[in-house]
């Protein structure tokens, strides 16, 4: 079973040379630590920056330089700053190759819910609805089951949706799965030490298993 770092490491393998990537808050942010240095990858922060770098050293933080999670960051050489309208313009126009974000639920047709729980204080969707409605390639980083042990990979989302038919791939502590165009979670890889049977029990939505399922290489 993977920890958060493991999920981030596995997702990092989805990133290809030359990609522009938007990383959501939480586990997706950790992915930045595991992008191989041999790859030229540029991170987009939807508050208006291309070329996001690592956190600053203590004492070097700049209040005018933050990421979409409102954390102090740095800029790498070759960065560009722009306003919020252009930022979401490039997202809508699919110039960003890969969007990685967290989710509360994903359905077998690729719907995602990650912004609102009825009865709880709603903080807002931020840029998530724009990202999921626009991105060509969305990878979700999430836990396979919630704290009550219930599957978060469902036939149909029960929470208010963030977007429909948009998730392409899911990486959890148990598995890597594709969302099939015709519906269903196709099992691609198992986490180290996790059996196919275990994944089947943890997946409420339609699970498609074909042939031998390899173990992840991290």
């Amino acid at each position: 079973m993977l920890d958060k770092t493991g999920i981030a490491k596995r997702i990092a393998k989805e990133i290809k040379d030359g990609y522009y990537v938007n990383l959501g808050i939480g586990i997706p942010t950790l992915v930045a630590n595991y992008i191989p240095e041999s790859l030229d990858v540029i991170l987009q922060s939807e508050n208006g920056l291309l070329g996001m770098g690592p956190f600053p050293f203590d004492g070097e933080e700049d209040p005018d330089l933050i990421n979409a999670g409102k954390q102090t960051i740095t800029m790498l050489p070759g960065s560009a700053v722009f306003d919020s309208a252009m930022s979401f313009g490039m997202i809508r126009a699919q110039k960003v190759h890969l969007t990685i974000l967290g989710a509360m639920e994903v359905s077998e047709n690729g719907d995602i819910a990650n912004w609102k729980i009825p009865g709880k204080m709603v903080k807002g969707m931020g840029g998530a609805m724009d990202l999921v409605a626009s991105a060509q390639n969305i990878v979700v980083a999430m836990q396979h089951v919630n704290k009550a042990g219930e599957s978060k990979l469902l036939p149909k989302c029960t929470l208010p949706l963030t977007g429909v038919n948009c998730v392409k791939k899911i990486v959890t502590e148990l598995a890597v799965l594709d969302v099939l165009p015709e519906g269903g979670f196709k099992l691609l890889e198992r986490a180290p030490g996790i059996s196919v049977d275990y994944i089947m029990k943890a997946t409420a939505g339609k699970l498609v298993i074909e042939g031998e399922i390899p173990q992840m290489v991290l």
Binding site: T29, L30, A32, N33, S45, E46, N47, G48, L49, G53, P54, F55, P56, F57, D58, G59, E60, E61, D62, P63, D64, L65, I66, N67, G69, K70, Q71, T72, I73, M75, V81, F82, D83, S84, A85, S87, F88, G89, I91, R92, D111, M121, V122, K123, G124, M125, G126, G127, A128, M129, D130, A133, S134, P160, L161, T162, G163, V164, N165
Partner: protein, 237 residues
């Protein structure tokens, strides 16, 4: 072309109860601190505020919330504010949550004289309720309307007396699109210079959009989440 005012109090002098304001900034970054302070002092009430966030309890729009000046917030994310939550749950405050890109583009639409835009954000969600959906090239889009704000209040790094503005780093965020969108636009800046000082190729907001400008003194620029790494650390984030 007399756009320079003495300070925040004069800049906001004619903002009245019940008006709609746009306020620049993302989180606490690039906030018009001085005008917010003056609005709190003036005590103007029943405001509708269009701003990406609602500040924190004791900074930014949070100060106006504590002072019960806000009737409605139009934002994309409001999650850092206990007083906000209290007022919302008690029914004192109305909130309209809209996707961040839709928020930005509805500002831009106003500044560009476009009455409506189409965006896929929110299709199939509760954001789409009651809105026109239209299919272009096989994809569904929502029609969203340009904002209509009485005042836009923005913070820039440098400005000249003709209202030309330059922002610094990610403190730019919503400020340029809101600057374009107000019926009256107020800019507060860290440095106010004479015309000819700023390179015309570096201007982010042309002065035609700005009606009042002043130099703010002593910016606090509070940091919401200070995140640092240790020297020698392997991890970059």
């Amino acid at each position: 072309m007399n756009k320079v005012v003495s300070g925040a109090d004069e800049a906001i002098r004619d903002i009245e109860d019940g008006m709609t304001l746009m306020l620049g900034g993302f989180g606490l970054c690039g906030l018009p601190e001085k005008c917010i302070g003056a609005l709190v002092k003036k005590g103007v009430k029943q405001l509708t505020c269009i701003s990406n966030n609602a500040g924190v309890d004791n900074f930014g729009i949070g100060l106006m919330l504590q002072n019960r000046q806000v009737k409605k917030m139009i934002s994309s994310y409001v999650g850092e504010n206990a007083e906000f939550e209290r007022q919302l749950l008690s029914g004192e405050l109305d909130v309209e949550l809209i996707p961040q890109g839709t928020l930005a583009t509805r500002c831009m639409a106003a500044g560009y004289g476009m009455p409506a835009i189409f965006t896929p954000a929110g299709i199939g969600t509760e954001v789409a309720e009651g809105k026109e959906v239209r299919n272009f090239n096989g994809k569904d889009y929502l029609m969203e309307m340009a904002f209509d704000a009485d005042f836009a209040i923005v913070k820039a790094w440098k400005g000249d007396t003709l209202g030309n503005l330059i922002y610094k780093s990610t403190a730019r965020n919503f400020n340029p699109v809101m600057a374009m969108a107000g019926k009256i636009t107020i800019a507060e800046v860290e440095e106010l210079v004479e015309p000819g000082t700023l390179d015309p190729d570096h201007i982010h907001t042309p002065g035609i959009y700005v009606h009042r400008i002043f130099k703010g003194e002593g910016y606090e620029k509070r940091i919401e989440h200070k995140t640092v790494r240790q020297k020698g650390s392997e991890n970059t984030i």
